[in-house]
């Protein structure tokens, strides 16, 4: 459709930059990850960022943006910005600091790391994962240079899905970025949220366009989020039971012969073993687990099985459940046996573009079995490492080792752009670990909830205050590269995350691995495959777009034999076929076929808890205005969601004397929070939905912050961290499902 109105377009151009005294500087956003950042046009007046708009030249966002990006000038100039490095002067947890210089801060950190490397070995250092943005490669490089394997990966997003799809069909991104919306007849959005996640990046528009073309939309999630409001069928599943639904759908599709016989016999391994295995997982069996009527499950299975072409967008719900590896493999099997793998309208393996791939920053060639064996708490069992991000320990287990000393205690944790106090489960235990931890470094642009326990705090630039890195797709699937341009001068005594790791590398004596601290050389090294320097790239203000390669379907010979990133380089799939029956899992003592594993607490797995905790509790991964533990201090976002909340069905609330907007106590077997009850007619009446990441106040709106533990609004204190029940044994996924009771605050709490 035309978006231009000639007169206004002319007016816009004639109301030129001169008239307003503004200068336009293109750059790209880094507020979210792991996708590429959106292109931004930034308008600067008197050295201040005054206005932002989407960059039309960027193929990522085509001139569109999201609320978070539009609010980012308030974020940039927030009074909570960290302006200079700090060192602790009070007790851990007190939050008393004094100002030090960048160089002094680095000396303190380097001194401690050298001392501990000598005393405890280099593996005593762990660095926790932020939202995946390019700077993570720099600290993974630092870890390798230092000799530690302990990249503490958070395991709340994407890697679990990538693992399941990789070891089922050698296509890690298949469930996340593999839907062929333009040619499909049926889209299944499953535990995903294309509205709040990557809003301007195309998925949402492609789904809406497909709907208008006539494709049907099924949305599977416990509450009617905006995408479900547009669905032809909303499937209000009970949280954490997606794996049970997927198994029951396989049952229907197999028993009603809705599968693709030719594809299954040519390209799948172990279908014959699936048939008897799946018999017990009937829709009737799944009904009490999922809370969905058996006939609804049959209907969904038949719609998916009978569609000429259907695609599944599998979301974050699959990453945060103890059933993760099973559930993802079951979805992979659904895609494969229905003949929707790499076919028009199905889940496809995307084509690379003609763009070269930048030289990697991390150092995978230096991984050794010896290094791998030193992992403090492997995210995946050693036999499946390294995976696509390298070798990793589980985020939670790095912290837990501080308390248990098993197999050895981590002595230094660096948290760059991540807040262990609100992001992983078991916040009470996390706080204990931070108290006991010998040395803790926080790196961020803003005050964080974990900062009070820090020994050193390193402030870093926002995306507006530095002139690097360049943006290119991680892993090569994409066709745009752009150099970051500095929009304003830094507001304090700090540098970028990238420069921090280079500087620390030099201080530690690893200068040869860190371009002797020269960021320009570091950028130029990565760009060698492009045959240009950062300066030459910068000469293209909005970057360079390369030709995409035309789509080729049914590339089975090519991708089903892909090598895995393991040290051996062995292929993901020993048979070169879709692993319905997974011999790699079997050899290492895991279920070769997907099974159902119930959450640690649920109506069917712990019915004895229902008398005291009758409701299922869950939290959604993101929202239209917040980004995990960040952005709650930004006024124009905070006023949209001013207070921490739960969504509750009006009948469920009224039965407890709870009015719309009342403050309530939500109590699980593990802790309690105090939040606002919002009536939500589109939620399962047995389920309560909340949002993680609440702790921060917003001074401009006079809104308070909230305690991290009991009585605050941090949902992560509600969940089980039982070592036997709360971890997927293959991918260490931790559940975000529990049972709770809700009561009006003020009466008894």
């Amino acid at each position: 459709m035309s978006r231009k109105s000639d007169d206004l377009e002319k007016a816009a151009k004639s109301a030129n930059v001169k008239k307003f005294g503004e200068r336009m500087i293109p750059t790209f956003c880094s507020l979210c990850g792991p996708m590429m950042g959106c292109g931004l046009n930034c308008y600067v007046k008197d050295g201040k960022l005054v206005r932002i708009e989407g960059m039309k030249e960027s193929p990522i966002n085509n001139g569109k943006l999201c609320p978070k990006a539009y609010a980012s000038a308030q974020w940039l100039y927030s009074p909570q910005r960290l302006k200079y490095p700090l060192k602790r002067v009070g007790e851990k947890g007190e939050g008393k600091f004094e100002r030090v210089t960048w160089d002094e801060a680095l000396d303190i950190i380097a001194g401690k790391l050298r001392e501990q490397k000598e005393k405890y070995g280099p593996e005593s250092l762990a660095i926790l994962s932020p939202q995946a943005r390019t700077y993570k490669s720099y600290f993974i490089r630092f870890l390798t240079a230092h000799g530690s394997p302990n990249y503490g990966h958070s395991g709340i997003c994407a890697i679990q899905r990538a693992f399941g799809f990789a070891y089922t069909m050698a296509a890690p991104m298949l469930g996340m970025h593999g839907s062929d919306y333009e040619h499909t007849d049926l889209i299944v959005v499953w535990g995903a949220n294309p509205v709040y996640s990557g809003t301007p990046m195309g998925t949402l528009k492609r789904i809406l366009d497909a709907r208008e073309r006539g494709a049907k939309l099924i949305v599977i999630k416990p509450e009617m989020q905006p995408d479900a409001a547009k669905a032809d069928m909303w499937v209000p599943i009970r949280p954490g039971t997606d794996g049970a639904l997927a198994l029951a759908m396989i049952n229907v599709i197999v028993n009603e012969h809705l599968y693709d016989v030719a594809f299954t016999s040519r390209w799948c391994y172990g279908f014959d073993k699936l048939v008897p295995h799946i018999q017990k997982y009937t829709p009737k069996w799944a009904e009490p687990i999922t809370g969905l009527p058996a006939d609804k499950i049959e209907e969904v299975a038949r719609l998916y099985g009978k569609a000429k072409a259907a695609c599944i967008l599998a979301g974050n719900a699959f990453d945060q459940t103890v059933d993760s590896n099973n559930a993802v493999r079951a979805v992979g099997i659904l895609i494969a046996i229905t003949g929707n793998l790499d076919r028009p309208g199905g889940n496809i393996v995307s084509m690379e573009s003609t763009m070269p791939i930048p030289k990697p920053v991390n150092l995978p060639k230096r991984y050794t079995q010896d290094l791998l064996d030193k992992l403090v708490g492997p995210e995946m069992p050693g036999c499946f490492q390294p995976f696509i991000e390298g070798i990793s320990s589980a985020y939670y287990r790095c912290l837990d080792s501080v308390l248990t000393g098993e197999p050895y205690p981590i002595k230094t944790i660096i948290a760059p752009g991540t807040q262990p106090t609100v992001i992983t489960r078991g916040s009470k235990r996390i706080v204990e670990a931070l108290k006991k931890l010998e040395f803790f470094v926080v790196i961020d642009v803003m005050q964080t909830s974990s900062m009070p326990w820090a020994d050193v705090v390193i402030p870093v630039t926002t995306m507006y205050e530095c002139d690097h890195p360049f943006e290119a797709p991680m892993g090569g699937a994409g066709n745009w590269i752009m150099a970051r341009n500095k929009v304003i001068e830094p507001l304090g005594d700090y540098k970028s995350d990238y420069e921090f790791w280079l500087d620390l590398g030099v201080k530690m004596g690893y200068g040869e691995d860190f371009w002797q601290g020269n960021i320009e050389e570091c950028m130029n090294y990565q760009l060698e495959n492009f045959g240009m320097t950062m300066d030459e790239l910068r000469a293209h203000p909005t970057g360079i777009i390369y030709e995409p390669k035309p789509m080729v379907y049914e590339k089975y010979d090519e991708f089903l034999t892909a090598p895995s990133p393991r040290l051996s380089g062995a292929p993901y799939l020993p048979q070169g076929k879709v692993a319905i029956y997974n011999t790699s899992f079997e050899e290492n003592g895991f279920n070769p076929l997907p099974e159902w594993v119930a959450p640690p607490e649920s109506p069917t797995s712990t019915p004895e808890l229902l008398a005291k905790y009758p409701l299922v509790f869950f939290d959604t991964h993101t929202s239209e205005v917040y980004n995990h533990g960040w952005l709650h201090n930004v006024p124009c976002l905070r006023e949209i969601q001013p207070e921490p909340w739960i969504h509750i069905h009006p009948d469920t609330a009224k039965a407890r004397g709870i009015g719309d907007g009342d403050w309530v106590i939500v109590e699980s077997p593990h802790g309690w929070i105090k939040v606002k009850a919002l009536y939500f007619p589109g939620i399962r009446p047995d389920t309560i939905m909340s949002l993680h990441g609440w702790w921060q106040g917003c001074d401009e709106l006079g809104l308070p912050g909230y305690p991290l533990l009991d009585g605050g609004a941090n949902v992560n204190i509600l969940y089980s961290t039982d070592p036997d029940k709360a971890f997927d044994p293959v991918v260490t996924a931790m559940p975000k499902q529990t049972l709770v009771e809700v009561r009006k605050a003020g009466t008894n709490g």
């Binding site: 459709m1 035309s2 978006r3 231009k4 109105s5 007169d7 206004l8 377009e9 007016a11 816009a12 004639s14 109301a15 030129n16 008239k19 307003f20 005054v50 206005r51 932002i52 708009e53 989407g54 001139g63 569109k64 943006l65 999201c66 609320p67 539009y70 609010a71 000038a73 308030q74 509205v195 709040y196 809003t199 301007p200 949402l204 528009k205 809406l208 208008e212 009617m224 905006p226 995408d227 409001a229 547009k230 909303w234 209000p236 239209e624 205005v625 006024p635 124009c636 976002l637 006023e639 949209i640 069905h649 009948d651 007619p681 589109g682 939620i683 399962r684 009446p685 401009e700 709106l701």
Partner: protein
Amino acid sequence: MSKQYGFYYDASRCIQCRTCEVACKSTHDIEPGVKWRRVIEIWSGEYPNVTRTFFSLACMHCEKPACAAVCPTGAIIKRVEDGIVVVDRDKCNGCQDCFSACPYGVPQFGVDGILQKCDFCIETGREPACAVSCPAEALNFGTLDELLEMKTGKTTRRMGGTTEPSIVIVS
């Protein structure tokens, strides 16, 4: 009147992502508590057969603006050249009669008590930020003639109402 600018709104594509709302606030640096554009929702039905519909709401630059008709100081002006309804904030006395008159609850009052509302981004000299930013392409802008002629593959019409809102909707 030579021409009339207005908005196009397709509720079937609006997903309450709030981009229009925050784009507006950020572009005009609007104070807390005041929204020139906001996305509201309407629920109907009973679980599980519920529906949830969204509406992105701002000044509709009506052809017969009720706000202007009741304004005692002549602070609300309907521009002859483009039909955009603007506020002369020096003339506004903060009586809020416009708020009572507007059928859509559009007029906003901040700390200074003076009327503020959507000016179609004419102050910024750019296209309306809400419409150009919409990731769902639910919102658009143009002259009413352009919007009615726009090829969307859908049946569109002027929104009804006594004030004749300058809005083209999908019917």
